[in-house]
Amino acid sequence: MKEHLKECMQAIIDGDTERSEKLAKLTLEKGMPVLEVINKGFVAGIREVGRLWEEGELFLPELVIGADAMKMAMGILRPALEGGEGGPDRLGHVVIGTIEGDIHDIGKTLVATMLAANGFEVTDLGADVPVAKFVETAEEKGADWIAISALLTTTMPGQKKVIEQLEAKSLGNIRVMVGGAPCSAEWASEIGADGYAGDAVAAVALAKGKTG
C-alpha cells in the first residue's frame, strides 16, 4: 500500500497521465481504500507539484501535465466515492473568468485547471465576462470565491466593480481574488479584494488558506 501511494504521488509529479490512469484503475481493481489513495497518493503529488513550482524547480508545461495526470486519476476515482466512503473534503467552489473588455484567456484557464486539479469545484466563465455575470453566477452556484483576471490597466477597474456589486447585493461573504499582469497585492488591498494570486499555484494556496 505504501509503495502504491508513493507511485501515485510520483505519477503526478512526473505528469505521467498513462501511469496515473493505470494506478487509479489498479486502486479500484485491488479494492484499495480510495479516499486514502486520493489524499495520501494523488493529492500529495499535486501538492508537491505546487511546491516544486514555487521553488522554481518545475517548468510551466510540467505544471500543466501534473494537473492533467491529476485530472485523469480523479476522473476514475471520484465516481467510486459517490455513495461510498464519502468524498474528499469539500474545498469550495470558485467562479473564475477574465473581466469584460479583456480577451486574454490562457492564464486564467491555467488557474482554473490547477484549482480543479487540487479539488476545487470550478465554474470557468471564459474571457470578456461582464461584471454582473460574475456576481450572478457566484450567487447561483453558492460560490466561495470569485477569481478575476485582468491583463490590462484599462480593464482592472472591472475587478473593483465586481467587489462593489457583491457588497451592494450583500454578498460580501463571497471572497474575491484578483490576478493578471498589472495586478498586485497592493491593488487587491486597495479595491478590497481578499487576495492577489500571481500564478496558478498561488491561486490554489490563497483559496485553500481562506476557504471554509
Partner: protein
C-alpha cells in the same frame, strides 16, 4: 507619410524567448524537466511548432511621422522622425489555442500560445530590422523599441497610435480597452535620427516597478 505594409515573409519564433515563456516561476530555480516529462514536453513543443507554421500570417504596417503627429502624447512631441508600427501573426493561432483549451488539452494550448507570443515578437523584430535598414540607407539610426503599456508609455495611448497607423489594413483592430485584436500583435515606435533618443531604458524591466509582471525580464 504613406503606410508601408510588410508581408509575405517567414518568421521563426526565438527559441530562447520560447523557453523563457515556458520556463520556471520568475525564471528562478535550477530545475530541469523530470525525465518522465521531458519527452512529452519536447514532443508537444515540436508538434506545436509544426502546427504553428500553418497558423501564422506575419504582417506589419509602418508609418513614419513626426512625433508631434501622435496626438495627446508627450513622449514623442519633440522628435522629428518616428516610425510607428503594428505587427501581427493573424488570428488563426489564438483561435486554435482557444479550441485546444476548451478541449482540455492544456499542454498543447499553453505551448502553442507561447509560440504565438514569441512569433509576434519575431514579427516586430523583422519590422524593426527593416526600419533599421531604411534608416541606415539615409545615414541615420533607429532607437530601441518602445511599446504602449510598457516602460512608462501608457497603454491608453495605443488609441493615438492606431489613429496614426491604419492597422486594420493588416487585420488588427483595437478594443475600447485598448487591447489589440488579434491578441498576438505588437505595436511599437522607434525614433529615427543621427543620434536617436533612448525611448526606454535598455533594461526597462529592471527599472519598472511592476515586480510581479509575468512579462518581466531580468537577465
Amino acid at each position: 507619410m504613406e503606410p508601408v505594409i510588410l508581408e509575405g515573409f517567414d518568421i521563426e519564433p526565438d527559441s530562447a524567448e520560447l523557453s523563457r515563456l515556458l520556463g520556471r516561476k520568475n525564471g528562478e530555480g535550477t530545475g530541469v524537466p523530470a525525465a518522465a516529462a521531458a519527452g512529452k514536453i519536447s514532443e508537444a513543443r515540436e508538434a506545436a511548432l509544426e502546427e504553428a507554421r500553418g497558423l501564422m500570417v506575419p504582417r506589419a504596417i509602418c508609418v513614419t511621422a513626426a512625433g508631434a503627429d501622435l496626438p495627446g502624447s508627450e513622449m514623442f512631441t519633440d522628435l522629428e522622425k518616428v516610425a510607428f508600427c503594428v505587427c501581427t501573426i493573424g488570428p488563426a493561432l489564438e483561435e486554435r489555442v482557444t479550441a485546444l483549451s476548451k478541449d482540455g488539452d492544456m499542454l498543447a494550448a499553453v505551448v502553442l500560445d507561447a509560440i504565438g507570443s514569441a512569433a509576434a515578437e519575431a514579427v516586430a523584430c523583422y519590422a524593426n530590422d527593416r526600419i533599421d535598414e531604411a534608416a541606415a540607407a539615409e545615414g541615420l539610426k533607429a532607437s530601441c523599441r518602445a511599446s504602449p503599456g510598457y516602460g512608462g508609455w501608457d497603454v491608453k495611448e495605443q488609441k493615438a497610435l492606431f489613429a496614426l497607423v491604419p492597422a486594420d489594413r493588416i487585420g488588427v483592430t483595437l478594443t475600447e480597452s485598448s487591447m489589440m485584436v488579434p491578441r498576438k500583435s505588437v505595436s511599437f515606435a522607434v525614433h529615427i535620427a543621427e543620434d536617436p533618443v533612448r525611448l526606454r531604458s535598455e533594461s526597462s524591466c529592471r527599472n519598472c516597478d511592476m515586480e510581479t509582471c509575468p512579462y518581466r525580464r531580468i537577465e
